[in-house]
Protein backbone atom coordinates (compact mmCIF):
# COMPACT_ATOMS: atom_id res chain seq x y z
CA UNK A 1 0.00 0.00 0.00
CA UNK A 2 1.79 3.12 -1.18
CA UNK A 3 0.00 6.43 -0.80
CA UNK A 4 -3.35 4.88 -1.57
CA UNK A 5 -5.50 5.00 1.55
CA UNK A 6 -8.61 3.48 -0.06
CA UNK A 7 -8.24 0.11 1.63
CA UNK A 8 -7.05 1.35 5.02
CA UNK A 9 -10.38 0.43 6.54
CA UNK A 10 -9.99 -3.20 5.49
CA UNK A 11 -6.77 -3.59 7.48
CA UNK A 12 -6.87 -5.26 10.84
CA UNK A 13 -5.62 -3.39 13.89
CA UNK A 14 -2.45 -5.51 13.79
CA UNK A 15 -1.84 -4.68 10.13
CA UNK A 16 -2.68 -1.02 10.61
CA UNK A 17 -0.31 -0.79 13.58
CA UNK A 18 2.45 -2.27 11.43
CA UNK A 19 1.81 0.19 8.57
CA UNK A 20 1.94 3.05 11.05
CA UNK A 21 5.10 1.73 12.66
CA UNK A 22 6.76 1.38 9.26
CA UNK A 23 5.54 4.88 8.38
CA UNK A 24 3.69 3.66 5.30
CA UNK A 25 0.78 5.78 6.39
CA UNK A 26 0.54 8.54 8.97
CA UNK A 27 -1.77 8.59 11.97
CA UNK A 28 -3.37 11.78 10.61
CA UNK A 29 -4.07 10.18 7.21
CA UNK A 30 -5.51 7.16 8.97
CA UNK A 31 -7.74 9.24 11.24
CA UNK A 32 -8.91 11.37 8.31
CA UNK A 33 -9.79 8.28 6.33
CA UNK A 34 -12.00 6.91 9.09
CA UNK A 35 -13.54 10.31 9.90
CA UNK A 36 -14.54 10.59 6.27
CA UNK A 37 -16.13 7.12 6.32
CA UNK A 38 -17.99 8.06 9.51
CA UNK A 39 -19.46 11.08 7.69
CA UNK A 40 -20.40 9.02 4.63
CA UNK A 41 -22.19 6.39 6.69
CA UNK A 42 -23.79 8.63 9.29
CA UNK A 43 -27.16 7.03 8.42
CA UNK A 44 -26.17 3.96 10.49
CA UNK A 45 -26.57 6.03 13.64
CA UNK A 46 -23.45 4.48 15.13
CA UNK A 47 -21.86 7.67 16.48
CA UNK A 48 -23.24 10.03 19.10
CA UNK A 49 -20.35 12.46 19.21
CA UNK A 50 -17.53 13.32 16.85
CA UNK A 51 -14.88 15.96 17.47
CA UNK A 52 -12.60 15.97 14.45
CA UNK A 53 -10.32 18.61 15.91
CA UNK A 54 -9.65 16.54 19.02
CA UNK A 55 -9.16 13.37 16.98
CA UNK A 56 -6.70 15.02 14.62
CA UNK A 57 -4.78 16.60 17.50
CA UNK A 58 -4.34 13.12 19.02
CA UNK A 59 -3.28 11.79 15.61
CA UNK A 60 -0.72 14.56 15.17
CA UNK A 61 0.75 13.74 18.58
CA UNK A 62 0.92 10.08 17.56
CA UNK A 63 2.75 11.05 14.36
CA UNK A 64 5.33 12.97 16.37
CA UNK A 65 5.90 9.93 18.55
CA UNK A 66 6.03 7.64 15.53
CA UNK A 67 8.60 9.91 13.88
CA UNK A 68 10.68 9.71 17.06
CA UNK A 69 10.63 5.93 16.77
CA UNK A 70 8.47 5.33 19.83
CA UNK A 71 6.66 2.47 18.12
CA UNK A 72 9.82 0.46 17.54
CA UNK A 73 8.76 -1.94 20.25
CA UNK A 74 6.16 -4.34 18.95
CA UNK A 75 3.27 -4.70 19.57
CA UNK A 76 2.38 -1.04 19.57
CA UNK A 77 -0.98 0.65 19.10
CA UNK A 78 0.59 4.04 18.45
CA UNK A 79 -1.62 5.97 16.01
CA UNK A 80 -4.32 3.28 15.76
CA UNK A 81 -7.78 4.87 15.82
CA UNK A 82 -10.47 3.38 18.06
CA UNK A 83 -13.97 4.58 18.94
CA UNK A 84 -15.35 4.37 22.46
CA UNK A 85 -18.77 3.27 23.61
CA UNK A 86 -20.54 6.30 25.00
CA UNK A 87 -20.57 4.69 28.42
CA UNK A 88 -16.89 5.64 29.00
CA UNK A 89 -16.47 9.21 30.14
CA UNK A 90 -14.13 11.31 28.01
CA UNK A 91 -12.74 14.78 28.41
CA UNK A 92 -12.65 15.63 24.69
CA UNK A 93 -16.04 14.23 23.72
CA UNK A 94 -19.56 14.52 25.10
CA UNK A 95 -20.62 11.52 27.22
CA UNK A 96 -24.33 10.71 27.37
CA UNK A 97 -24.56 6.96 28.11
CA UNK A 98 -27.35 7.08 25.53
CA UNK A 99 -29.54 9.02 27.95
CA UNK A 100 -31.34 12.33 27.74
CA UNK A 101 -30.33 12.65 31.39
CA UNK A 102 -26.73 13.28 30.34
CA UNK A 103 -27.33 15.17 27.09
CA UNK A 104 -24.34 17.44 26.47
CA UNK A 105 -22.43 16.18 29.54
CA UNK A 106 -18.70 17.00 29.50
CA UNK A 107 -16.66 14.86 31.84
CA UNK A 108 -13.82 16.57 33.70
CA UNK A 109 -11.76 13.36 33.37
CA UNK A 110 -11.18 10.31 31.15
CA UNK A 111 -12.22 6.79 32.16
CA UNK A 112 -9.23 4.63 33.16
CA UNK A 113 -9.69 2.41 30.09
CA UNK A 114 -9.73 5.46 27.81
CA UNK A 115 -6.69 6.98 29.55
CA UNK A 116 -4.72 3.73 29.40
CA UNK A 117 -5.36 3.38 25.70
CA UNK A 118 -4.50 7.04 25.08
CA UNK A 119 -1.20 6.59 26.92
CA UNK A 120 -0.35 3.93 24.38
CA UNK A 121 -1.04 6.32 21.53
CA UNK A 122 -4.52 5.14 20.57
CA UNK A 123 -6.43 7.89 18.76
CA UNK A 124 -10.12 8.38 19.64
CA UNK A 125 -12.49 8.58 16.66
CA UNK A 126 -15.61 9.49 18.64
CA UNK A 127 -18.32 8.13 20.89
CA UNK A 128 -20.57 5.26 19.98
CA UNK A 129 -24.31 4.91 20.38
CA UNK A 130 -25.60 2.40 22.93
CA UNK A 131 -28.70 1.51 24.89
CA UNK A 132 -29.48 3.99 27.63
CA UNK A 133 -27.11 3.27 30.53
CA UNK A 134 -26.25 0.04 28.65
CA UNK A 135 -29.69 -1.40 29.42
CA UNK A 136 -30.95 -3.24 26.38
CA UNK A 137 -30.29 -5.93 23.82
CA UNK A 138 -31.15 -4.11 20.59
CA UNK A 139 -29.78 -0.56 20.91
CA UNK A 140 -33.40 0.60 20.67
CA UNK A 141 -33.30 2.07 24.16
CA UNK A 142 -30.93 4.88 23.19
CA UNK A 143 -32.48 8.30 23.71
CA UNK A 144 -30.74 9.35 20.50
CA UNK A 145 -32.24 6.79 18.16
CA UNK A 146 -31.45 3.20 17.25
CA UNK A 147 -28.42 1.94 15.34
CA UNK A 148 -28.85 0.02 12.07
CA UNK A 149 -27.22 -3.32 11.44
CA UNK A 150 -24.79 -2.89 8.50
CA UNK A 151 -25.79 -6.36 7.23
CA UNK A 152 -29.39 -5.23 6.90
CA UNK A 153 -30.52 -1.75 7.98
CA UNK A 154 -33.95 -3.05 8.97
CA UNK A 155 -32.37 -5.20 11.67
CA UNK A 156 -30.95 -4.40 15.07
CA UNK A 157 -27.16 -4.47 15.56
CA UNK A 158 -27.81 -5.94 19.01
CA UNK A 159 -27.11 -4.19 22.27
CA UNK A 160 -26.18 -2.60 24.39
CA UNK A 161 -22.88 -1.99 22.52
CA UNK A 162 -24.78 -1.71 19.22
CA UNK A 163 -22.95 1.36 17.93
CA UNK A 164 -19.59 -0.31 18.63
CA UNK A 165 -20.53 -3.47 16.73
CA UNK A 166 -22.07 -1.61 13.78
CA UNK A 167 -19.12 0.78 13.45
CA UNK A 168 -16.59 -2.06 13.39
CA UNK A 169 -18.64 -4.21 10.99
CA UNK A 170 -19.11 -1.24 8.64
CA UNK A 171 -15.39 -0.45 8.85
CA UNK A 172 -16.02 3.02 10.27
CA UNK A 173 -13.47 2.15 12.94
CA UNK A 174 -10.88 -0.63 13.01
CA UNK A 175 -11.95 -1.45 16.56
CA UNK A 176 -14.10 -0.16 19.39
CA UNK A 177 -14.53 -0.50 23.10
CA UNK A 178 -17.68 -2.00 24.54
CA UNK A 179 -19.03 -2.98 27.92
CA UNK A 180 -20.74 -6.21 28.87
CA UNK A 181 -23.05 -6.53 31.85
CA UNK A 182 -25.25 -9.40 30.64
CA UNK A 183 -23.93 -9.93 27.12
CA UNK A 184 -23.59 -6.41 25.73
CA UNK A 185 -20.26 -7.12 23.97
CA UNK A 186 -20.87 -10.72 22.88
CA UNK A 187 -24.41 -10.39 21.52
CA UNK A 188 -23.87 -7.31 19.29
CA UNK A 189 -20.56 -8.81 18.11
CA UNK A 190 -22.51 -11.91 17.11
CA UNK A 191 -25.31 -9.92 15.43
CA UNK A 192 -22.84 -7.83 13.39
CA UNK A 193 -20.36 -10.58 12.49
CA UNK A 194 -17.36 -9.26 14.43
CA UNK A 195 -15.19 -10.52 17.29
CA UNK A 196 -15.52 -9.28 20.86
CA UNK A 197 -14.34 -10.34 24.30
CA UNK A 198 -15.52 -9.62 27.82
CA UNK A 199 -12.67 -10.35 30.23
CA UNK A 200 -12.94 -11.77 33.73
CA UNK A 201 -14.85 -9.42 36.04
CA UNK A 202 -12.32 -7.08 37.64
CA UNK A 203 -9.70 -7.22 34.86
CA UNK A 204 -10.52 -3.82 33.37
CA UNK A 205 -11.11 -0.83 35.59
CA UNK A 206 -14.69 0.35 35.95
CA UNK A 207 -13.53 3.86 36.85
CA UNK A 208 -15.20 6.29 34.48
CA UNK A 209 -17.59 3.71 33.05
CA UNK A 210 -21.07 5.11 33.71
CA UNK A 211 -22.28 2.52 36.22
CA UNK A 212 -25.17 0.18 35.45
CA UNK A 213 -24.72 -2.97 37.59
CA UNK A 214 -21.43 -2.69 39.42
CA UNK A 215 -20.94 -6.38 40.24
CA UNK A 216 -21.37 -7.31 36.56
CA UNK A 217 -20.09 -4.41 34.39
CA UNK A 218 -16.89 -5.17 32.45
CA UNK A 219 -15.16 -3.38 29.58
CA UNK A 220 -13.71 -5.17 26.59
CA UNK A 221 -12.66 -4.70 22.97
CA UNK A 222 -14.66 -5.32 19.80
CA UNK A 223 -12.76 -5.77 16.55
CA UNK A 224 -12.75 -7.96 13.49
CA UNK A 225 -10.23 -10.57 14.64
CA UNK A 226 -9.23 -12.36 17.81
CA UNK A 227 -5.67 -11.13 17.30
CA UNK A 228 -6.91 -7.52 17.33
CA UNK A 229 -8.99 -8.18 20.43
CA UNK A 230 -5.89 -9.62 22.12
CA UNK A 231 -3.83 -6.53 21.28
CA UNK A 232 -6.53 -4.17 22.50
CA UNK A 233 -7.43 -6.14 25.61
CA UNK A 234 -3.76 -6.04 26.63
CA UNK A 235 -3.95 -2.25 26.51
CA UNK A 236 -7.20 -2.03 28.51
CA UNK A 237 -6.60 -4.29 31.52
CA UNK A 238 -4.61 -3.99 34.74
CA UNK A 239 -5.19 -3.16 38.40
CA UNK A 240 -6.68 0.20 39.33
CA UNK A 241 -6.63 -0.22 43.11
CA UNK A 242 -7.17 3.41 44.07
CA UNK A 243 -10.14 4.01 41.80
CA UNK A 244 -12.01 0.74 41.41
CA UNK A 245 -12.57 -1.16 44.63
CA UNK A 246 -13.40 -4.39 42.79
CA UNK A 247 -10.46 -4.26 40.37
CA UNK A 248 -8.37 -7.45 40.53
CA UNK A 249 -4.72 -7.33 41.61
CA UNK A 250 -3.76 -9.45 38.60
CA UNK A 251 -1.08 -7.60 36.63
CA UNK A 252 -1.59 -6.54 33.01
CA UNK A 253 -0.85 -9.32 30.56
CA UNK A 254 0.18 -9.73 26.96
CA UNK A 255 -2.90 -11.54 25.71
CA UNK A 256 -1.30 -12.20 22.31
CA UNK A 257 1.31 -14.49 23.85
CA UNK A 258 -0.35 -17.80 23.08
CA UNK A 259 -2.45 -17.00 20.00
CA UNK A 260 -0.73 -19.60 17.86
CA UNK A 261 -0.68 -22.53 20.25
CA UNK A 262 -2.10 -25.67 18.62
CA UNK A 263 -5.50 -26.91 19.75
CA UNK A 264 -4.65 -30.61 19.75
CA UNK A 265 -6.42 -32.27 22.62
CA UNK A 266 -8.36 -29.16 23.61
CA UNK A 267 -11.42 -30.27 25.57
CA UNK A 268 -14.35 -28.17 24.41
CA UNK A 269 -17.36 -28.37 26.73
CA UNK A 270 -20.74 -28.33 24.99
CA UNK A 271 -23.53 -27.40 27.45
CA UNK A 272 -26.66 -29.30 26.50
CA UNK A 273 -28.84 -26.49 27.89
CA UNK A 274 -27.50 -24.18 25.12
CA UNK A 275 -28.80 -26.50 22.39
CA UNK A 276 -32.45 -26.96 23.42
CA UNK A 277 -35.57 -26.19 21.47
CA UNK A 278 -35.22 -22.43 22.00
CA UNK A 279 -32.24 -22.40 19.64
CA UNK A 280 -33.16 -21.41 16.07
CA UNK A 281 -32.19 -24.06 13.47
CA UNK A 282 -30.15 -21.61 11.35
CA UNK A 283 -28.05 -20.57 14.35
CA UNK A 284 -27.66 -24.19 15.40
CA UNK A 285 -26.45 -25.19 11.92
CA UNK A 286 -23.73 -22.51 11.89
CA UNK A 287 -22.65 -23.34 15.45
CA UNK A 288 -22.55 -27.09 14.70
CA UNK A 289 -20.43 -26.46 11.61
CA UNK A 290 -18.01 -24.40 13.71
CA UNK A 291 -17.76 -27.19 16.27
CA UNK A 292 -16.91 -29.66 13.45
CA UNK A 293 -14.21 -27.27 12.30
CA UNK A 294 -12.81 -27.30 15.84
CA UNK A 295 -12.73 -31.10 15.77
CA UNK A 296 -10.63 -30.86 12.60
CA UNK A 297 -8.29 -28.56 14.52
CA UNK A 298 -7.81 -31.27 17.12
CA UNK A 299 -10.40 -30.29 19.72
CA UNK A 300 -12.45 -32.93 21.48
CA UNK A 301 -16.11 -32.10 22.14
CA UNK A 302 -17.16 -32.97 25.69
CA UNK A 303 -20.84 -32.95 26.70
CA UNK A 304 -21.38 -30.87 29.83
CA UNK A 305 -24.33 -29.48 31.76
CA UNK A 306 -25.03 -26.00 33.08
CA UNK A 307 -28.28 -26.94 34.82
CA UNK A 308 -29.24 -23.45 35.97
CA UNK A 309 -28.99 -21.76 32.57
CA UNK A 310 -32.68 -20.85 32.50
CA UNK A 311 -32.59 -19.54 36.06
CA UNK A 312 -29.91 -17.07 35.05
CA UNK A 313 -32.63 -14.91 33.47
CA UNK A 314 -34.60 -14.08 36.65
CA UNK A 315 -31.39 -14.02 38.73
CA UNK A 316 -29.76 -11.49 36.40
CA UNK A 317 -32.90 -9.40 36.02
CA UNK A 318 -33.13 -9.09 39.82
CA UNK A 319 -29.46 -8.38 40.54
CA UNK A 320 -28.81 -5.98 37.65
CA UNK A 321 -31.87 -3.75 38.25
CA UNK A 322 -31.21 -3.73 42.01
CA UNK A 323 -27.70 -2.41 41.45
CA UNK A 324 -28.94 -0.07 38.72
CA UNK A 325 -31.60 1.49 40.93
CA UNK A 326 -28.91 2.24 43.47
CA UNK A 327 -26.37 3.53 40.93
CA UNK A 328 -28.90 5.69 39.12
CA UNK A 329 -30.02 7.45 42.29
CA UNK A 330 -27.19 9.92 41.59
CA UNK A 331 -29.21 11.41 38.74
CA UNK A 332 -31.20 13.94 40.73
CA UNK A 333 -30.77 17.13 38.72
CA UNK A 334 -28.52 18.79 41.30
CA UNK A 335 -24.85 18.60 40.35
CA UNK A 336 -24.95 17.47 36.74
CA UNK A 337 -27.31 16.26 34.07
CA UNK A 338 -30.86 17.17 33.23
CA UNK A 339 -33.08 19.19 35.57
CA UNK A 340 -36.81 19.66 35.01
CA UNK A 341 -37.80 23.22 34.15
CA UNK A 342 -40.91 23.31 36.35
CA UNK A 343 -41.39 21.91 39.86
CA UNK A 344 -42.90 22.84 43.19
CA UNK A 345 -40.24 21.74 45.69
CA UNK A 346 -37.08 19.66 46.02
CA UNK A 347 -38.77 16.23 45.97
CA UNK A 348 -40.93 17.29 43.05
CA UNK A 349 -37.78 18.44 41.26
CA UNK A 350 -36.22 14.99 41.73
CA UNK A 351 -39.34 13.21 40.51
CA UNK A 352 -39.91 15.36 37.44
CA UNK A 353 -36.21 15.45 36.55
CA UNK A 354 -36.01 11.66 36.63
CA UNK A 355 -39.35 11.24 34.84
CA UNK A 356 -38.13 13.46 31.99
CA UNK A 357 -34.52 12.28 31.87
CA UNK A 358 -34.94 8.49 31.89
CA UNK A 359 -36.44 6.32 29.16
CA UNK A 360 -39.00 3.54 29.64
CA UNK A 361 -36.63 0.58 30.09
CA UNK A 362 -34.45 2.45 32.57
CA UNK A 363 -37.54 3.42 34.58
CA UNK A 364 -38.74 -0.19 34.60
CA UNK A 365 -35.41 -1.41 35.92
CA UNK A 366 -35.25 1.31 38.55
CA UNK A 367 -38.73 0.28 39.69
CA UNK A 368 -37.89 -3.44 39.81
CA UNK A 369 -34.64 -2.67 41.59
CA UNK A 370 -36.20 -0.36 44.16
CA UNK A 371 -38.88 -2.97 44.83
CA UNK A 372 -36.56 -5.96 45.36
CA UNK A 373 -34.33 -3.91 47.64
CA UNK A 374 -37.22 -2.49 49.66
CA UNK A 375 -37.98 -3.49 53.22
CA UNK A 376 -39.46 -6.97 53.47
CA UNK A 377 -38.49 -8.08 49.98
CA UNK A 378 -34.69 -7.99 50.10
CA UNK A 379 -34.22 -11.58 51.35
CA UNK A 380 -36.82 -13.09 49.03
CA UNK A 381 -35.43 -11.49 45.90
CA UNK A 382 -32.00 -9.88 46.01
CA UNK A 383 -30.39 -12.24 48.51
CA UNK A 384 -32.02 -15.29 46.94
CA UNK A 385 -30.71 -14.17 43.52
CA UNK A 386 -27.21 -13.73 44.91
CA UNK A 387 -27.32 -17.24 46.38
CA UNK A 388 -28.37 -18.77 43.08
CA UNK A 389 -25.66 -16.67 41.48
CA UNK A 390 -23.14 -18.64 43.52
CA UNK A 391 -24.75 -21.92 42.48
CA UNK A 392 -24.46 -20.86 38.82
CA UNK A 393 -20.79 -19.95 39.31
CA UNK A 394 -20.19 -23.32 41.03
CA UNK A 395 -21.86 -25.12 38.12
CA UNK A 396 -19.21 -23.65 35.85
CA UNK A 397 -16.40 -24.81 38.14
CA UNK A 398 -17.91 -28.29 38.05
CA UNK A 399 -18.03 -28.13 34.23
CA UNK A 400 -14.42 -26.95 33.95
CA UNK A 401 -13.29 -30.17 35.63
CA UNK A 402 -13.99 -31.94 32.36
CA UNK A 403 -13.24 -29.23 29.78
CA UNK A 404 -10.83 -26.38 29.02
CA UNK A 405 -13.27 -24.01 27.34
CA UNK A 406 -17.04 -24.00 26.85
CA UNK A 407 -18.59 -23.38 23.44
CA UNK A 408 -22.14 -22.69 22.30
CA UNK A 409 -24.37 -20.11 20.66
CA UNK A 410 -24.29 -16.45 21.74
CA UNK A 411 -27.98 -15.87 21.15
CA UNK A 412 -30.94 -18.09 20.23
CA UNK A 413 -31.53 -16.28 16.91
CA UNK A 414 -29.81 -13.95 14.46
CA UNK A 415 -30.49 -10.21 14.77
CA UNK A 416 -34.21 -9.48 14.85
CA UNK A 417 -35.83 -6.57 13.03
CA UNK A 418 -35.78 -3.13 14.63
CA UNK A 419 -39.02 -2.91 16.57
CA UNK A 420 -39.39 -6.68 16.22
CA UNK A 421 -39.87 -7.29 19.92
CA UNK A 422 -42.53 -4.60 20.02
CA UNK A 423 -43.28 -3.24 23.43
CA UNK A 424 -42.37 -6.49 25.15
CA UNK A 425 -39.30 -6.11 27.36
CA UNK A 426 -39.54 -9.78 28.36
CA UNK A 427 -38.79 -10.86 24.79
CA UNK A 428 -35.46 -9.03 25.03
CA UNK A 429 -34.71 -10.54 28.46
CA UNK A 430 -35.36 -14.10 27.27
CA UNK A 431 -33.04 -13.63 24.29
CA UNK A 432 -30.14 -13.01 26.72
CA UNK A 433 -30.28 -16.57 28.03
CA UNK A 434 -26.90 -17.80 26.70
CA UNK A 435 -24.82 -14.78 27.70
CA UNK A 436 -26.19 -14.27 31.22
CA UNK A 437 -24.65 -17.33 32.92
CA UNK A 438 -21.03 -16.29 32.24
CA UNK A 439 -21.87 -12.71 33.25
CA UNK A 440 -23.27 -13.82 36.60
CA UNK A 441 -20.22 -16.03 37.18
CA UNK A 442 -17.86 -13.20 36.16
CA UNK A 443 -16.14 -15.45 33.63
CA UNK A 444 -14.45 -14.28 30.44
CA UNK A 445 -16.54 -14.84 27.34
CA UNK A 446 -16.25 -13.97 23.71
CA UNK A 447 -18.05 -14.12 20.40
CA UNK A 448 -16.52 -14.85 17.02
CA UNK A 449 -18.26 -14.98 13.64
CA UNK A 450 -18.88 -18.52 12.39
CA UNK A 451 -21.34 -18.12 9.51
CA UNK A 452 -24.67 -16.75 8.45
CA UNK A 453 -28.25 -17.62 9.25
CA UNK A 454 -31.64 -16.54 7.94
CA UNK A 455 -31.55 -13.40 5.79
CA UNK A 456 -27.76 -13.63 5.48
CA UNK A 457 -27.37 -12.26 9.01
CA UNK A 458 -24.23 -13.22 10.96
CA UNK A 459 -24.06 -15.94 13.60
CA UNK A 460 -21.52 -15.88 16.41
CA UNK A 461 -20.00 -18.69 18.43
CA UNK A 462 -19.64 -18.03 22.14
CA UNK A 463 -16.53 -19.24 23.95
CA UNK A 464 -16.44 -19.15 27.75
CA UNK A 465 -13.24 -19.68 29.69
CA UNK A 466 -12.38 -20.14 33.32
CA UNK A 467 -11.30 -17.13 35.40
CA UNK A 468 -8.30 -15.26 33.93
CA UNK A 469 -8.14 -17.58 30.91
CA UNK A 470 -8.58 -14.82 28.33
CA UNK A 471 -5.34 -15.74 26.53
CA UNK A 472 -6.65 -19.29 26.10
CA UNK A 473 -9.99 -18.05 24.71
CA UNK A 474 -8.24 -15.75 22.26
CA UNK A 475 -5.95 -18.60 21.21
CA UNK A 476 -8.97 -20.84 20.55
CA UNK A 477 -10.67 -18.09 18.53
CA UNK A 478 -7.50 -17.14 16.63
CA UNK A 479 -6.80 -20.70 15.47
CA UNK A 480 -10.32 -20.89 14.06
CA UNK A 481 -9.81 -17.62 12.21
CA UNK A 482 -6.58 -18.96 10.70
CA UNK A 483 -8.49 -21.67 8.86
CA UNK A 484 -11.82 -19.91 8.14
CA UNK A 485 -12.74 -16.56 6.64
CA UNK A 486 -16.06 -15.65 8.27
CA UNK A 487 -14.32 -12.79 10.08
CA UNK A 488 -13.29 -11.22 6.77
CA UNK A 489 -16.85 -11.16 5.37
CA UNK A 490 -17.95 -7.62 4.72
CA UNK A 491 -21.48 -6.20 4.55
CA UNK A 492 -22.45 -4.84 1.13
CA UNK A 493 -21.94 -1.13 0.58
CA UNK A 494 -19.12 -0.76 3.10
Amino acid sequence: MTNDTSALHDLSVAQLARHLRERKVSAVETAQHFLSRMRTHAELGAFLDVNEEATLAQARAADVALAAGHAAASPSLLGVPVAHKDIFVTRDFVTTAGSKMLEGYRSPFDATVVAKMAEQGVVTLGKLNCDEFAMGSANENSAFGPVKNPWNPLHTPGGSSGGSAAAVAARLAPAATGTDTGGSIRQPASFCGITGIKPTYGRASRYGMVAFASSLDQAGPMARTAEDCALLLSSMCGPDPDRDSTSLDTPAEDFTRSLNEPLDGLRMGIPKEFFGEGLAPDVRAAVDAALSEYEKLGAKLVPISLPRTELSIPVYYIIAPAEASSNLSRFDGVKFGHRAAHYTDLVDMYKKTRAEGFGDEVKRRIMVGAYVLSHGYYDAYYLQAQKIRRMIADDFQQAFKSCDVIAGPVAPTVAWTLGGHGNDPLADYLADIFTLPASLAGLPGMSLPVGFGAGHLPVGLQLIGNYLQEAKLLNVAHRFQQVTDWHTAKPQGF
Partner: protein, 99 residues
Protein backbone atom coordinates in the same frame (compact mmCIF):
# COMPACT_ATOMS: atom_id res chain seq x y z
CA UNK B 1 -47.68 -12.90 43.78
CA UNK B 2 -49.02 -9.85 42.01
CA UNK B 3 -48.27 -6.18 42.52
CA UNK B 4 -51.10 -3.67 42.71
CA UNK B 5 -51.31 -0.07 41.52
CA UNK B 6 -50.71 0.96 45.13
CA UNK B 7 -47.40 -0.96 45.10
CA UNK B 8 -46.39 0.81 41.89
CA UNK B 9 -47.19 4.19 43.42
CA UNK B 10 -45.23 3.34 46.58
CA UNK B 11 -42.16 2.14 44.66
CA UNK B 12 -42.27 5.10 42.26
CA UNK B 13 -42.24 7.39 45.27
CA UNK B 14 -39.27 5.51 46.80
CA UNK B 15 -37.44 5.73 43.47
CA UNK B 16 -38.35 9.41 43.08
CA UNK B 17 -40.01 8.86 39.71
CA UNK B 18 -43.14 10.69 38.67
CA UNK B 19 -45.28 8.34 36.59
CA UNK B 20 -48.23 9.39 34.44
CA UNK B 21 -51.38 7.25 34.99
CA UNK B 22 -51.01 5.46 31.65
CA UNK B 23 -47.34 4.83 32.39
CA UNK B 24 -48.15 3.37 35.83
CA UNK B 25 -50.68 1.04 34.31
CA UNK B 26 -48.27 -0.19 31.64
CA UNK B 27 -45.55 -0.56 34.25
CA UNK B 28 -47.87 -2.64 36.45
CA UNK B 29 -48.61 -5.12 33.64
CA UNK B 30 -44.98 -5.36 32.58
CA UNK B 31 -43.57 -5.73 36.07
CA UNK B 32 -46.14 -8.39 36.95
CA UNK B 33 -45.24 -10.22 33.74
CA UNK B 34 -41.63 -10.10 34.82
CA UNK B 35 -42.34 -11.37 38.33
CA UNK B 36 -44.07 -14.45 36.85
CA UNK B 37 -40.62 -15.32 35.55
CA UNK B 38 -39.09 -14.67 38.95
CA UNK B 39 -41.33 -17.20 40.70
CA UNK B 40 -39.14 -20.05 39.38
CA UNK B 41 -36.20 -18.49 41.13
CA UNK B 42 -37.99 -18.19 44.45
CA UNK B 43 -38.73 -21.91 44.47
CA UNK B 44 -35.03 -22.89 44.41
CA UNK B 45 -33.71 -24.38 47.65
CA UNK B 46 -30.73 -22.24 48.64
CA UNK B 47 -30.36 -23.42 52.22
CA UNK B 48 -26.77 -23.00 53.35
CA UNK B 49 -25.63 -21.20 50.17
CA UNK B 50 -23.56 -18.06 50.70
CA UNK B 51 -24.64 -15.11 48.53
CA UNK B 52 -22.06 -14.18 45.88
CA UNK B 53 -21.25 -10.48 45.54
CA UNK B 54 -17.86 -10.37 43.78
CA UNK B 55 -17.98 -13.17 41.19
CA UNK B 56 -14.28 -13.98 41.39
CA UNK B 57 -14.87 -14.88 45.05
CA UNK B 58 -15.98 -18.21 43.56
CA UNK B 59 -12.32 -19.23 43.39
CA UNK B 60 -10.35 -16.91 45.65
CA UNK B 61 -10.81 -14.71 48.68
CA UNK B 62 -11.63 -11.16 47.62
CA UNK B 63 -11.23 -8.41 50.16
CA UNK B 64 -12.89 -5.14 49.29
CA UNK B 65 -10.06 -2.69 49.62
CA UNK B 66 -10.03 0.84 50.88
CA UNK B 67 -7.62 3.32 49.41
CA UNK B 68 -5.37 5.37 51.60
CA UNK B 69 -7.14 8.46 52.87
CA UNK B 70 -5.06 11.15 51.24
CA UNK B 71 -5.64 14.02 48.84
CA UNK B 72 -5.36 12.62 45.35
CA UNK B 73 -7.28 15.10 43.21
CA UNK B 74 -6.63 18.76 42.68
CA UNK B 75 -9.45 21.25 43.04
CA UNK B 76 -11.37 21.33 39.78
CA UNK B 77 -14.43 23.17 40.92
CA UNK B 78 -14.91 24.95 37.62
CA UNK B 79 -14.67 21.81 35.53
CA UNK B 80 -16.89 19.95 37.96
CA UNK B 81 -19.54 22.64 37.94
CA UNK B 82 -19.55 23.09 34.19
CA UNK B 83 -22.30 20.44 33.95
CA UNK B 84 -24.44 21.72 36.80
CA UNK B 85 -27.99 22.81 35.99
CA UNK B 86 -27.78 25.84 38.31
CA UNK B 87 -24.72 27.40 39.95
CA UNK B 88 -24.11 30.69 41.70
CA UNK B 89 -20.85 31.94 43.23
CA UNK B 90 -19.38 28.45 42.97
CA UNK B 91 -22.34 26.87 44.78
CA UNK B 92 -24.89 24.38 43.47
CA UNK B 93 -28.39 25.84 43.58
CA UNK B 94 -31.37 23.76 44.72
CA UNK B 95 -34.96 24.72 45.54
CA UNK B 96 -35.50 25.99 49.08
CA UNK B 97 -35.56 23.02 51.49
CA UNK B 98 -36.17 24.77 54.85
CA UNK B 99 -38.64 27.65 55.09
Amino acid sequence: MSLTSADIARIANLARLELQPAESERMLTQINGFFDLVEKMRAVDTTGVEPLAHPVATIQAIALRLREDRVSESNEREANQRNAPAVENGLFLVPKVIE
